[in-house]
């Protein structure tokens, strides 16, 4: 049943731009934000809220811009390298932040992300300040593409990446390491008494989440063709948490459901009302009050009665 739903959803996403071309950009951005929100959701499993994950999102997009400026022009190379660099940055930042819990973890992520934001904005000579940096249309496997063709390649590539990464994260969360991550939330003492190094469990999760946000950031950068410091602003981080909670942190699809829902809602609502924030706020209140497992919970309900 769930497999059929998934297939229908994927087909709908793939077909949508054929019916309405403007959807291609919207959906590409939804996937980008969904990947980053999935990163936030991974950490939420351990009960750790990162209100700063836009820093990895932005770092990766800037990574692409710098690498492109440095003369690398291939899409795949740019994507992989920028994500690897973001993962390494995540390892460094994570090694420091995973010692903290609860509000301290949340706020330190916020603080570090604001340092990133300030650096991107102030180092004018390097980053172009608030004007940001352009990301040129890359070649794909050595083939020079027109911009519209590249955007189509980017979209279908993102859909494929979403599936692959979604599957990998699903397996990670289902592995002992993923279960240990949820266990951090309920009983760190028992984990230690199982001989499990809690710091290592959290560091892996932090790196995974940084890599996910990095993929999202790179895709967003390519889709927009520009990266600006606002990518790292705290409201962008808040948005990712919102997406994760709205979609539901119980499973991998939640983050994407949340992202698609919000992106589509935004485009629709923004078209004929400026009450966008009101609508999103109301939707979030509704979800938190009536759907504690998020929108995804609607699809997975039943098995275990809530108690």
């Amino acid at each position: 049943m769930r497999a059929i739903l998934l297939i229908v959803a994927i087909l709908a996403i793939v077909a949508a731009p054929m019916a309405a071309p403007w959807l291609q950009f919207v959906l590409t951005m939804a996937i980008a934000k969904g990947l980053a929100a999935l990163g936030v959701a991974v950490l939420l499993r351990a009960g750790m809220i990162s209100i700063g994950h836009a820093m990895s999102f932005a770092a990766s997009a800037y990574g692409v811009a710098f690498l492109a400026r440095g003369g690398i022009s291939d899409f795949g190379v740019l994507l992989v390298l920028s994500v690897v660099v973001t993962g390494l940055a995540g390892a460094v930042v994570g090694a420091f932040l995973i010692r903290y819990r609860a509000i301290f973890f949340a706020m330190l992520n916020l603080a570090v992300s604001m340092v990133f934001y300030a650096l991107f904005a102030k180092l004018y000579g390097l980053t172009g300040g608030t004007d940001g940096m352009t990301i040129p249309v890359p070649t794909v496997f050595g083939v020079v593409l027109s911009e519209p063709t590249f955007k189509a390649v980017l979209f279908y590539g993102s859909v494929a990446l979403m599936l692959l990464v979604g599957l990998a994260v699903h397996r990670y969360l289902d592995s002992p390491l993923g279960h240990a991550l949820s266990a951090v939330h309920t009983n760190e003492v028992r984990l230690e008494y199982l001989g499990v190094p809690v710091w290592a469990v959290l560091l892996v999760a932090y790196i995974v989440s940084a890599v996910l946000a990095g993929m999202g950031g790179a895709i967003a950068g390519f889709a927009i063709g520009r990266v600006v410091p606002d990518f790292a602003f705290w409201t962008a981080s808040g948005h990712l948490v919102l997406v994760a909670v709205l979609g539901g942190i119980g499973g991998v699809p939640g983050a994407f459901i949340g992202a698609f829902f919000l992106e589509l809602l935004h485009t629709e609502a923004a078209a004929f009302t400026d009450a966008w924030n009101l609508i999103v706020g109301a939707a979030l209140i509704g979800v938190i009050m009536f759907l504690p497992k998020g929108l995804y919970g609607l699809l997975t309900r039943s098995e275990v009665p809530a108690k």
Binding site: R171, L177, N187, L194
Partner: protein, 248 residues
């Protein structure tokens, strides 16, 4: 006498002036089932906290198999083969009974299989066998938070057994377990310890359980070992009867 696995020498620790361990020395011998009895607040749990590195002693030393473990973390001491079941069960309350068990088994194997599921068939089987042993078969799929207190206690013990320890420390294993289930739990536990060559120390308030199962008894009072020996001898001791058995 057989070789000692754990040697504790002259441990001192105090909390806000309360001496929870006041010059404690003791040995746990290979293969024995050692009971620790003593009044409430005499420092029995603190002894387990000290032996597993959860609390650091102000002075004194602890050796496991002749190697010093004083000041090491619970994680490292666990890795060296010491497992613990708690007075208040320490479980992953949002996860199922089976997942609690499988995570313990996976921890023993090393967690670093990112892309293989926790619920491997062999692991599931092993977990189920251990749950059978402690009598939790029917609770397998329940979320551990929803178990009655006694069953949480049993699960905590099964989790400790899953670590295949050499030395098992049990803090009041039968408290919260109904008197009906108490002796069947002890029988299951004793057979598990024997077949797996596990040495164990258990803190216990039920003197019938102690008299029937313990090879040796340590009587704890106000942070020190007041008496020790075979249950028959210890229960004849006037001071013990007055201070511990009467009140425990």
């Amino acid at each position: 006498m057989s070789a000692s696995i754990l040697q504790v020498r002259d441990l001192h620790v105090e909390f806000n002036g309360v001496k929870a361990a006041d010059g404690v020395s003791l040995d746990i011998n290979e293969g024995e089932f050692l009971a620790v009895i003593g009044p409430n607040g005499s420092g029995k749990t603190t002894l387990l906290n000290l032996c597993t590195g959860y609390v650091r002693p102000k002075s004194g030393s602890i050796h496991l198999d002749g190697r010093a473990i004083t000041g090491l973390s619970p994680r490292v001491i666990t890795r060296r083969g010491v497992a613990r079941a708690f007075q208040i069960p320490q479980l992953f309350s949002d996860q199922s009974v089976l997942d609690n068990m499988m995570l313990a088994l996976a921890a023993k194997d090393g967690l670093w299989t990112m892309l293989r599921p926790l619920a491997l068939p062999a692991r599931r089987e092993e977990a189920t066998a251990l749950l059978d042993l402690v009598g939790l078969r029917d609770d397998k799929n329940r979320v551990s938070r929803t178990l009655p207190e006694g069953h949480r206690k049993l699960l905590d013990i099964a989790v400790a057994l899953a670590l295949k320890p050499r030395l098992l420390l049990l803090d009041e294993p039968t408290s919260g377990v109904s008197t009906l289930e108490r002796f069947s739990l002890m029988e299951a536990l004793m057979s598990a310890l024997r077949t797996r060559n596990i040495t164990a120390l258990f803190v216990e308030h039920d003197m019938d359980v102690v008299a029937r199962y313990a090879d040796r008894v340590l009587v704890w009072n106000a942070g020190t070992v007041m008496a020790q020996g075979h249950p028959d001898e210890v229960f004849k001791d006037e001071r013990v009867l007055k201070n511990v058995v009467g009140v425990a």
